[in-house]
Amino acid sequence: MSKTENMAATEAAEAKSKGKLAIYWAASCGGCEISTLGIDTKILDLAAAFDIVFCPCITDGKTRDVEKMADGEIDVCLFNGGIRTSENEYMAQLLRRKSKVLVAFGSCATEGCIPGLANLHDRKSIFDNTYQETCSTDNEAGVRPQSVTQVPEGDLHLPVFYDTLRTLDQTVKVDYYLPGCPPESDRIWEAIEAIMAGQLPPPGSVIGSNTTVCDFCNRTRSEKKIKEFKRTWEVIPDPDTCLLEQGLVCCGPATRAGCGCLCPQVNSPCIGCYGPPGDAQDFGARLMSALASVIDSNDPREIQAIIERGIPDPVGTFYRFSLAGSLLRRGKRPEAENGHGQQAATGGAS
């Protein structure tokens, strides 16, 4: 789009009353914001259509202002990131109240994404690992971060780190979902256009296609019979044949379309960052069922051998992005403990 057109669009948009937009990141990596910047020159159309009342990444909007807004004053809030700490949850609840439409923006908010794999552990084991076991850590005193620390000058506060990372809709009511890690810039723009045009699907639905990555894959496919699952480093796949048929665990068949089948185009199997399509309930279950179904054996021993050899890490394979949002949400948790360790012991350790 040319600059002049941009300006035109800007003026046109300014003519009608501007909406209020908030973009917030909780437990995410910032990729969603970068991908949003990827809408490129359309960022000006966006600025024309909306007052960006809150987007800490690129503007200096303040939570205080959000707190002072009337409930529902924000028209649309794109919320990315999972709920990892009390601060994340506070912001989720605040923005839910202040926003007419709350969009779970990106894989983290939608299904937990990679950080959700932390749900295989709890706060204590994560703290012990990060602040003790890691090889370059120097911590003889066994110090752990504290929610409140007394330093000579006074108290210092840290948000509470939860045992379980939760998705946005496990925390507050979500109106729409925009999946992807990160969502492709084009999809983001399409969603924004839909919002601007008020052409939104029924609440609770995902803004995106219902087909899967295979729909956009040019590789030739035939009936599937799998004798062996291969690791990516074990084989140089043929560029024209379905990766799954070559034994690579490609998540494409179970993954919502939207990226345009990018990874298989560079000869890498899809890793499933767009989550399940349509109203599929549990990404991992879909993939498990599909892969198991085409295992080419009826012998229990052989079947187990094929699975155990080829898929040494089932959770990481089937729930890479969706563990927090899955039916089971997390691995079995040991009896809950306070990972902060002895307050007294470490409180003064600074």
């Binding site: 707190e67 506070y90 989720a92 609840q93 605040l94 839910r96 109240r97 809709d169 496990q170 925390t171 507050v172 009511k173 219902n210 087909t211 899967t212 990555v213 295979c214 729909d215 496919r221 035939s222 009936e223 599937k224 019979k225 799954l244 494409g252 068949p253 179970a254 379309a257 399940p276 399509p277 349509g278 109203d279 599929a280 309930q281 879909r286 993939l287 069922s289 599909a290 179904s293 085409v294």
Partner: protein
Amino acid sequence: MAERVGVYVCHCGSNIAGKVDVADVAKFASEHIKDVVVARDYKFMCSDLGQKMVEEDIKKEGLTRVVVAACSPHLHEKTFRRACSNGGLNPYLLDMTNIREHCSWVHKDPVAATEKAKSLVSASAERVKFQQPLEPMYVDVNPTTLVVGGGIAGLQATLELADAGHKVVLVERLPSIGGHMAQFDKTFPTLDCSACILTPKMSEVGQHENVRLLTYAELEEVTGSVGNFHVKIRQKARKVDFDLCTGCGICVEKCPRKVVDTEFEAGMGMRKAIYMPFPQAVPRVPVLDTESCIWFERQRCQTCEKLCPTKAIRFDQEDEIIEVDVGNIIIATGWKPFDCTKIPQYGYGRLPNVYTGMEFERLCNAAGPTSGKIVLRDGKTVPKSVAIIHCVGSRDLNHNPYCSGICCMAALKFAHLLIEKTGAQVYSFYIDIRTNQKDYEEFYQRLLQEGVHFVRGKVSEVTDATRRPDETGKTIVQCEDTLTGRQERYPVDMVILMGALEPQFDARELGLKCGISCSMAGFYTERHPKLDPVATMTDGIFIAGVCQGPKDIPASVVQGAAAAARVAGMITKGKVMIEPIVASIREEDCSGCRICNNMCPYNAIEFDETRAVSRVITALCKGCGTCVSACPAGVIEGAHFNNSQIFAEIEGALWDAVPPAGVPGESESAGVSAS
């Protein structure tokens, strides 16, 4: 708009009410299950009054869904579906849950039973809300029937249908129809000549205007479904022009090459390279066995070709594929005899005077190699003492656990023939004597009179290693007489092994072609062991004779007729209903990953290359739902068992379990909301 659910809890007299507090269950349903507007308990729901109650409520209370908690849906689902229809409700908006077989009859504690009944009702009620009205589909039935197997069962079925005026295609693997019965000499217990009663049926079939007879042919492929099967049959090359051949037999007579006949003569006699298995063979058209023919061995001879008056010999004849369309299929592929060499301690194949039952049948058959004279393999010695060993490969966990049913009677028949023809001493080694049909026991008594020595015990060994002088030149049967408890050695001239009846070697393969399943043993599985013994789980495919399980001639005939009757019924009806419980693919959402493509054993899923989507051929779908759960995208819908229905059922079943933490935001944020 919310559904209006009616829940009916059956007392089944005291069958259910005796254990389950049915009133409490009904109360639970009305108070705790959302959308339940009527919840009643009643003495006998299946009674006319019970059904009327449902009909009335549908009309008066405007029920949109019905749950009946009673016995197994396998017994009364149809009943209550009808009741719903009568009430003006689509029958598929009913769900039946089983609180009798699965609950009141099997649980001791009334409280626990009642609690379980509640869960089952809850599950059913939650499920039924998601059920959708379905319309059964009807297809026309092709009046032609395919019968596979020309043994007595197949012949019976063929004639029943053909005589009733229906076209039949009969396929037989061997050169002639007749099956094993044609090999027998006499049939028990009446001892009438097997051939005499069989051959009339054979020739009748051979000449019947409604029968298309394809011998020396095998089933190649079956596609389609009930009412409209498309069948490919391989007509093996006879090397003889079927139409030109007059059956004069000169070719057979003049053929210089003789070989042992392992098929019909069970290895006891010879046949020519070009042959008819037996004199009364139908059709009377010989088959040239290329394995043994001199021409095919070294391109010489051609005697038959030269001498054939009608020039019917065709050395260059090839197999051909014959395609037929039929509405129903009757499988009557019979059995194969147990390979007695599998039990080496009985010496078969090693000791000259050990025979199989089938060998002995030929031995004493008037049309057999010895013209019915019972002699040892030297061709002259008449046995003075004979041992008949029962249950060889039957009732034996090392081989076949089942009882072959007919061997006892066959053994008695042999004993009688031996005494009659040779006056030999006959020892019959049995585990139990099973003579449980009309006139069988009488036949047993008769043989006791005739002086057969019955020894109760399992033979441990048959050997030629002599220990006592009186054993020289004899075959010794070693056995513990379990009545006297003593180990005995019986020196005899001849030993007959009553081998088991086993499924045809290719029974499973054929089963797969037709889409019917086999038991562990390899006999075809009937739809219901008692109430539906000749139908299979696959509509339009029936089974008759020993392929369904060991049985004697009368039973085989009965099943042949029964199968024919079932088929005739379908033909007269003209249409067949297909349950609407089938899978369907949302093509607009299908990405053509092709995971589902080899999920279906009925090939009901096809891949549309042009549109790159998979599609379910409804007529072929049996509704198992395997593809539904295989689809990685969840775009395959299983009618009447779709995800939302089953999810709801799971939630209902666990109504009393810990609910997972839902969205905490609303409730917990209360303390956080002010700011």
